[in-house]
Subunit: 435 residues, 2 copies
């Protein structure tokens, strides 16, 4: 089954928002073994929406449309789909009633314009919206035979395929897709042969090093063709996605297992998680397993490391707090870094990082202290170039620091520094096994 | 001139990355008064890329393609464009030489595969890449007449229009677009009539309140048709974009001025900036103008407020540092919040926010202290529901706190809380004028 996605909305073409809906749908469809062959964006224009739907249905068997279902004059997906199907729209009394009920429960009248949401292409099924007022639509084309009150013979060859129209509001779209659309798609696709994929998350290695380390494996797989390994880098982390295809899910999983094992053996402790794991979540789990806590001492990152350490729900069990000593004198006042050390070496220094980690560990009563000091840029500071960063870690078995040279501009250096701090703590925790 | 955008890359269809390039291009093109009529994504497949290019050129006069120019076997944009143009590819000795030079400067040999980047469709112009090895391409279709060694008669009607192929790596694409593509597009478009737009940034008001306040203005503009006001909300901020169209740029600016004035009068101090301004940048400027500094005391945000206060280059002049007292006992130890107050009221409390702001201001030696305490969720904590947040500000003229009820899940509550802290400081600074 060939699938396409069409997002409707001038705001997407203007770049006011990125098309996160298409990425979200792409992930979910790929995970379900369904292939997206193309994705497009079109503005709020009746003729162009209809043209884009027709073009997509000439190439694909199924089309998911997002957006254009709201109550305003700009919301034209209903009318465009009716035009493509060659049918009229008609008011659904059921949806009109549901709208009245929903508003009267809030003690309000339905604004007249909102009744447009009850005007459906004749013959289309309404998809329930658990989180908003606009129902989705399902059109099984061709629909001419079922048309009432519209052109029964659309111009040109009749288009064929199934169209799902979903709201553009992400949380409404997510639910409607999961509850209604995906099961329907899978039922239509029949047994698609099984594709399984697993993503391993890697930190502390650049993408090029990961690709080089796994080069031999990738080459061998290219020859056999039934499995792929792909890399995706971002935010100082690399995803390694292994995908296998076989007659059944069991076979595909069996095919995947030795490949995953080889990737894990090759990359070693750089692999921090799998599929839905996050680096902050993994660090929290490791701390929890050891009954340990952490505190952060930051400079160039301004609080980013602390915000990552507190990202995961329940992190109050493992995160004590942080001290951001952005001004150099505060490194002494708040963290006890010796004033002579700062005078002699400046704040961007390995021993300063160790002293900061030690200071925050002691003063905040944490099992581990993680410290970051360095230069975010854009200018050289205290004699060090942008990207020069020291990560210090202090714990029950001692303290140490490591120098990093991080690439990129200010914003990226700060993010990479915070991620490096998290990863340094993770590797330290792995060596200090629980109990 | 009708424009389309085509992004090449299976990773985009799989949702591994969102199509930020299309959004970036959409913004820049809209700002230049050029209309994007459609945008599409296609995977790394020679036939499908060629089909997508042909389809776009049937609808549009110009097409910008991003991605597929790298050195790997998956990078097929060069070959696809050659196929659409009906020409062969040929190795450019100039680009081959540049590749050798670039690598030899790094003391390395060019990997054999990378020479693919020197294979250009015959008749295409190479666009210089200031930040990477893959040159961009410019093809002026039809090109059959110029073809050497390829099919001179492509199948079907010849496609017409200009195609720019740019790298998918964002910073390479940004530069090539800005330096080469946009000037070329504007030259081809001729004087498009002048469109000017200005974006006003708003904080501390929800989108619905902004839309309601400006409803009368929007209605009057709808009638005249030569100006539009659009709203876009995100991250606790709202953008109000005013666009006017006229025969000349001077006329369009003159038309815009009174509309901007009316928006500013209506929204008052909620407007914090214009066009490229950021909330952290505006706060830094206000502090600098007053010779003042700030320190942050955080709880639920874990360091996010500090990271925003240190986001802008040069913020070491205005940002002293932050204390993240995530564990309740640290609010006393690090910030001096009275232990009796915490025992009586719990940490999510107005007076606790005031005491935190006061404590961080004093201990970090800052002119202003900003404090955030509250519940990020997902669970109720200390009797308060997720989204309950207190913002405290302490300064030379006294201290106060305000309660907020923020919507959304954990991640959004934390971001909105940090933004609210910044905005509360901004409003306080506006009332305490410099000198």
């Amino acid at each position: 089954m060939k699938l396409e996605i069409l997002a409707v909305g001038t705001e997407l073409l203007l770049g006011d928002i990125v098309n996160g809906n298409a990425a979200w749908l792409g992930q979910r469809l790929a995970a379900a073994g369904l292939d997206v062959h193309g994705s497009a964006v079109v503005g709020d224009n009746l003729g162009r929406i209809a043209d884009a739907v027709r073009a997509a249905l000439r190439r694909a068997d199924a089309l998911i449309v997002t957006g254009g279902l709201g109550p305003t004059q700009d919301d034209l997906t209903r009318e465009a789909l009716a035009a493509v199907a060659g049918v009229a729209t008609a008011r659904s009394l059921e949806i009109e009633g549901a709208l009245r009920e929903r508003y009267s429960a809030l003690g309000r009248q339905v604004p007249e314009a909102n009744f447009r949401q009850a005007d459906l292409p004749v013959g289309a099924a309404a998809l329930p919206n658990g989180r908003g007022t606009a129902p989705g639509l399902l059109l099984d084309m061709p629909m001419g035979a079922r048309a009432v009150g519209g052109d029964t013979a659309p111009p040109g060859a009749p288009v064929t395929g199934v169209v799902y129209a979903l709201p553009g509001v992400p949380h409404e779209m997510y639910e409607m897709f999961t509850v209604t659309v995906l099961p329907d798609l899978l039922a239509r696709a029949g047994e698609p042969g099984a594709i399984v994929s697993r993503t391993l998350h890697v930190a502390g290695m650049w993408e090029s090093a990961v690709a080089e380390a796994l080069g031999g494996l990738v080459e061998r797989l290219d020859v056999t063709g039934s499995a792929t390994v792909a890399f995706l880098a971002g935010g100082g982390r690399v995803k390694v996605r292994i995908t296998t295809k076989a007659a059944s899910r069991t076979d595909a999983l069996e095919h995947l297992a030795p490949i995953e094992a080889e990737v894990r053996t090759t990359l070693g402790e750089a692999v921090y998680g799998v599929d839905g794991d996050t680096l902050p979540g993994v660090v929290s789990r490791l701390l929890l397993a050891r009954g340990a806590t952490v505190a952060a001492a930051e400079s160039l990152t301004g609080g980013l490391l602390g915000s990552l350490l507190s990202e995961t729900p329940g992190s109050s069990d493992t995160f004590r707090g942080a001290v951001v000593a952005y001004a150099t004198t505060l490194k002494t006042a708040l963290l006890g870094v010796p004033v002579e050390l700062l005078a002699e070496r400046g704040p961007v220094d390995s021993d300063v990082a160790v002293a900061m980690a030690h200071g925050v560990r002691t003063r905040l009563g944490a099992t581990y202290g993680v410290a970051l000091t360095g230069v975010a840029g854009p200018d050289i500071q205290d004699g060090a170039t942008p990207g020069t960063v020291y990560v210090g870690i202090a714990g029950p078995t001692g303290a140490a620091a490591r120098q990093l040279q991080l690439p990129g501009r200010r914003e990226q250096v700060r993010l990479l520094a915070a991620v490096s701090g998290l990863d340094a703590l993770r590797r330290r925790l792995l060596r200090e096994a629980p109990g």
